[in-house]
């Protein structure tokens, strides 16, 4: 937890691409109350590939959703770049998701009725833009989908579908990409491919990616791992290997 906490709103730190300040999320009331996030403060640097790890129910997904503006907090705040998300209304949040954020989910990433290419262009289409043709071409080549552009998701394998999802996230050149267990549904080969694409996007194009995972192998592709447990940050590790991550998990008894 050496990352400096950002100063108070409304001027978030310039070093971080995104982060949370004292983020708390409580589900339910009374005895049934669950603190999914319990005062989390964390920052994610630009042009880095950060993994968030933790067991089921640790709050890691809730944190990701809050960071991405998909879910609201009970108290505290999250920010992307210099924007605190609690200051945005639904319309502004939508705009933010479309232009400044990319998403990769575990499954059901694609609109089944659209072709691979249309899925990749969807965020731009929704904004009425055509996007940077050259860049999209580069992305398509990088993820190796040229042959499959006119296929529907149902005609693609799970790995190919995730590649389309990665391409969609990259295509609009967002400030930050959030990935929620992107390889959770894939076999190890396909999973490795996806993780490799994500790492290349960070190294070669300076993309910022924050990924939630519970797989130490997947975490080892990242530049930094943030550990979450019981709604709190429990650890932080730079340049992790799979063994480092495993060791940490064992030591902290989860």
């Amino acid at each position: 937890m050496d990352t400096p906490a950002p100063p108070a709103p409304p001027s978030p730190p310039q070093v971080a691409a995104a982060g949370a300040v004292d983020a708390t999320k409580i589900y339910g009331v009374g005895d049934a109350q669950v603190r999914a996030l319990d005062g989390v403060t964390v920052a994610f640097e630009s042009a880095k590939f950060t993994a968030i790890m933790g067991p089921s129910g640790s709050g890691k997904s809730t944190l990701l959703h809050a960071l991405a503006g998909l879910d609201t907090l009970t108290s505290g705040d999250t920010y992307i770049g210099d924007t605190y998300l609690s200051t945005l209304d639904d319309k502004q949040l939508t705009e933010l998701r479309r232009t400044r954020v990319g998403f990769i989910f575990q499954a059901y990433n694609l609109i089944p009725t659209l072709t691979a290419e249309e899925n990749i262009r969807l965020p731009m289409m929704l904004g009425g833009e055509s996007g940077d043709a050259e860049w999209i071409d580069t992305v398509v080549t990088t993820v190796g989908l040229r042959e499959r552009l006119s296929h529907r998701p149902s005609e693609l394998s799970g790995g190919q579908q995730q590649r389309v999802a990665v391409a969609r996230a990259l295509a609009s050149q967002p400030q930050i990409i959030f990935a929620d267990e992107p390889t959770g549904n894939l076999d190890s080969t396909a999973g490795a491919e996806i993780l490799d694409f994500m790492r290349r996007a960070v190294r070669e194009y300076g993309q910022t990616i924050v990924m939630v995972t519970h797989d130490p192998g997947a975490a080892s592709y990242s530049d930094r791992v943030v550990f979450v447990g019981d709604g709190k940050i429990t650890g932080d590790m730079d340049d992790p290997t799979a063994d480092d991550v495993l060791d940490h998990l064992k030591q902290h008894g989860v």
Partner: protein
């Protein structure tokens, strides 16, 4: 543009969910087809009749007829035939042809009436050399003198009568014979618009029809070069003020108007059912959209997550509906042409005799088709699309968080809509503000709201009711039965929405059933208690009976009292009233009008009997005098001599003498009632009466019991017709349950796969779906019966007491409706149960 992305998504979604798309499209198309069909049918009939009357009066430039003081359906006073000479004396009149149309009926060798199917039988005068009536000779020469007739070629062909044959015909003056000298037709046709015709020369017609030297009109053709308006003005100034002169166009217009009133009535009746069908379609479309949006929750949330605004999601859903609505409407317009043809064929099969020539599609019909088709689709998708727009993006990863957005605050809204609908309906039925339009707005609009409200509120009772319905099924069919019961109960909202369409159809049938039973009971009650007549004589064509029939019956010694019932309209204090005219002395023996004051049998000439309602409205008591103005300009001062409480024979009764003293129009009796003399047994009476009217083969003699049965049969027929007209709506409702169930099967793919994997066989799977459908449809039927019975009671209470004074229910019909509900469920289950039982087990389990 962003609109293009939503349009693309909408188009793709339609194509990807073809089954659902077709299902919705069928619902829209069916609704639009019936609406378009109704309009096309009415427009086509209107055009045919307008053309016909235009053709008829093509050669008629002007017409002289008697003046009518106010608008009424009473026949105009005839005019003196001597006026023809005055007309001919006017400069510019080339032809003046008197017209005379009365009752005349051919009788065949067996002494039976020759009647075209349902059409009138008419006798006319025919001035062949002058002829401007459009009559054409098919064969032979015009009749001349008392022993010659011409008949229409259609009847001649059907009865195998040739020129030269001798025929017998009946008129108001009795039976006559004549030699057929010609067969005739109207223009190119062989008949006279369905009427059977006996044509005589003018003098013979005047004599045989008992016309007393009077004719109906004088039709005029103006000489070439003469100015019609000038001739009209000359005629107006030279003729007496009791006649008027109108142009040929007016003649055609008025004749067409008369028929078109009927066409309008008929067309509007059809339209009501068409709109009911559309309304039911709307329910189904709404339900399907609602369900599919739930199924597409993750897809829609994903769109939100990658940056689609709520508005874009809504626009996409609305866009889908718009495309669907437009395509289905276009199909519906074509479907409507087919429906119009089908209806004409069906009505003609029932003996309506509609011409089938033209199919008229007015631009108005197309516009209404789109308003209805696209409109109902847009309305149906309004709420679902708003809900879809509220799906939070986080639902893309955690679908369970998204369903909150799809929840509806149904109960409060539903109760409000129900109460407002009920209030409007009651106001419309009982307070009746704003005439017909008020009735449509309040009662019609209130009824629609009531249906929507009840459909919505019924979800709160869906669980207990369906569990109760499912109990025997559970006991009888073990696991599949129990599953069916649980599946229905676990989604009470969906159950009530999918049952709603059937509920509407069933409640309308139930309401009609209550109304019909009450109508019948009231009628039978009147017949049994108030009407003491033993015989009722009616006429099958709508022309009314010749007075000769009543005169003949009055002579029968076995009958002690006979009276015809005749009618005339007259204005009292500026309002037109219908007066019934009877032989009061006989009438008193035949009917108990619940006399409150005064006399019945003692009614004198220039006396009047009044029902209590108008009596209290106009402040009348025994001895009060009222001024009555008749359509021919005659007036009389009538003294109130009795006040009575049973309006079976109308609100105003006068004596036949009074009527005859004020009107020279040809008399027509609606019906005749008569009673056996004391000591005459029924059998002897039947024989005597039948013998007396043998020479009038067209009349229909019934005993009190027979009359009651025939009237009951007519009421039943009415109920059958209403049910048939609702059939379209009910078919759509069944389709709706089927679609909903198919969607549910699709949703439960994994679950069904699991059940199959642990050992449920195909048959059990089918059975479980089938009983689920039956529980849903029975639920709809039960709610429908309850609501419909209530509506029927309100309706029955709202109509005047002389039509319905007693409420009655028909348990048989309720049982039939319930069985129908079960059958509807079985039909609805055909496709979904097939789909469920044919799932690949492994694929089903692998589905997420």
């Amino acid at each position: 543009m962003s609109t293009s992305s939503t349009a693309l998504l909408a188009r793709r979604s339609i194509r990807a969910r073809l089954g659902r798309t077709i299902a919705i499209a069928v619902a829209i198309t069916a609704g639009v087809s019936v609406v378009v069909g109704s309009f096309v049918l009415a427009d086509s009939l209107r055009e045919v009749f307008t053309d016909l009357f235009d053709e008829l009066s093509e050669d008629v430039d002007l017409q002289v007829r008697s003046v009518q003081e106010f608008d009424t359906n009473d026949a105009r006073e005839p005019i003196d035939v001597t006026l023809v000479d005055d007309v001919r004396a006017i400069d510019g009149v080339e032809v003046a042809e008197p017209t005379l149309t009365r009752y005349a009926q051919l009788i065949n060798d067996e002494g039976e009436a020759v009647s075209p199917t349902g059409g009138p039988t008419l006798g006319v005068s025919w001035e062949a050399d002058a002829g401007i009536q459009g009559v054409t000779i098919k064969e032979g020469v015009p009749p001349e003198g008392p022993d010659e007739v011409a008949i229409d070629k259609a009847t001649a062909d059907r009865e195998r009568i040739s020129v030269g044959d001798e025929v017998t015909y009946l008129t108001d003056t009795g039976q006559h014979t004549g030699t057929v000298t010609a067969t005739i037709g109207l223009g190119d046709t062989d008949s006279f618009g369905g009427a059977a015709l006996v044509a005589l020369d003018l003098d013979t017609a005047l004599d045989r029809f008992g016309a007393d030297g009077k004719v109906d009109t004088i039709d005029i053709k103006v000489a070439d070069g003469a100015d019609i308006a000038t001739v009209e003005a000359d005629l107006e100034s030279s003729l007496t003020s009791t006649v008027e002169v109108i142009t040929g166009e007016q003649v055609a217009e008025e004749s067409a108007e008369g028929v078109n009133q009927f066409v309008d009535l008929f067309g509007n009746g059809l339209l009501i059912f068409a709109f009911i069908t559309t309304f039911v379609s709307g329910f189904i479309i709404n339900n399907v959209f609602q369900i599919t949006i739930g199924q597409r929750l993750r897809e829609l949330a994903l769109m939100r997550a990658v940056g689609a605004s709520g508005r874009q999601v809504r626009r996409m859903i609305v866009g889908e509906a718009l495309i669907l609505g437009i395509v289905a409407t276009i199909l519906g317009v074509f479907g409507g042409l087919a429906v119009a043809r089908l209806l004409i064929t069906a009505f003609n099969a029932a003996g309506a005799g509609f011409p089938t020539s033209a199919t008229v599609i007015q631009p108005r019909t197309i516009i209404i088709a789109f308003l209805v088709g696209v409109g109902i689709t847009m309305l149906s998708v309004l709420v679902p699309s708003r809900r879809a727009a509220r799906i939070p993006p986080v639902a893309a990863m955690r679908p369970e968080l998204g369903f909150g957005a799809l929840e509806r605050r149904r109960l409060v809204g539903g109760v409000i809509v129900t109460v407002v609908g009920l209030a409007m309906f009651l106001v419309g039925m009982f307070a009746r503000p704003g005439g017909t339009q008020g009735l449509i707005f309040f009662a019609g609009g209130g009824g629609l709201l009531l249906f929507i409200g009840v459909a919505s509120v019924s979800s709160t009772i869906a669980r207990p009711v369906t569990r109760a319905i499912g109990w025997p099924i559970d006991k009888l069919f073990k696991v599949p039965g129990a599953l069916a019961r649980e599946n229905v109960a676990r989604a009470p909202r969906r159950t009530s929405s999918s049952a709603a369409a059937l509920m509407i159809g069933v409640s309308l049938v139930s309401a009609a059933a209550v109304f019909a039973s009450s109508l019948r009971t009231t009628f039978v009650d009147t017949l049994e208690n108030a009407i003491t007549a033993d015989y009722i004589v009616t006429d099958d064509s709508f022309q009314g009976l010749s007075p000769v029939v009543a005169e003949t019956l009055a002579e029968v010694p076995e009958l002690s009292a006979v009276t015809p019932v005749r009618g005339i309209s007259g204005q009292v204090e500026g309002d037109t009233k219908n007066f019934g005219a009877v032989d009061a002395a006989a009438f008193e023996e035949l009917f108990d009008p619940d006399l409150e004051e005064g006399t019945i049998g003692g009614l004198s000439e220039n006396g009047v009997l009044v029902h209590t309602d108008p009596a209290s409205d106009l402040d009348l008591e025994i001895g009060s005098e009222i001024e009555v103005l008749y359509q021919n300009g005659a007036t009389s001062t009538l003294t109130v001599e009795g006040i009575y409480g049973d309006a079976t024979f109308g609100n105003w009764l006068i004596s036949l003498d009074t009527l005859e003293s004020v009107s020279d129009a040809p008399a027509r009796d609606f019906f005749i009632i008569g009673k056996l003399a004391d000591g005459v047994d029924a059998e002897t009476g039947d024989v005597a009466v039948a013998a007396a009217i043998e020479e009038f083969p067209q009349v229909n003699l019934q005993t009190n019991a027979e009359f009651r049965e025939s009237q009951e049969a007519q009421i039943n027929q009415l109920l059958v017709i209403i049910s048939l007209l609702l059939a379209f709506a009910i078919v759509i409702a069944v389709l709706g349950i089927s679609i909903t169930l198919a969607l549910a099967v699709f949703e439960r793919t994994r679950e069904i796969g699991l059940l199959r994997a642990v050992g449920m066989n195909r048959r059990q799977t089918r059975r479980s779906i089938r009983w689920e459908a039956v529980i849903v449809s029975t639920f709809g039927a039960i709610i429908g019966i309850v609501l419909g019975t209530f509506l029927g009671v309100v309706l029955s209470l709202a109509v005047p007491d002389d039509i319905i004074s007693k409420l009655a229910f028909n348990p048989t019909i309720i049982v039939i409706i319930l069985i129908g509900g079960v059958v509807a469920g079985l039909l609805a289950a055909l496709y979904p149960s097939f789909k469920a039982s044919n799932m690949d087990v492994l694929d089903a389990i692998a589905t997420e």
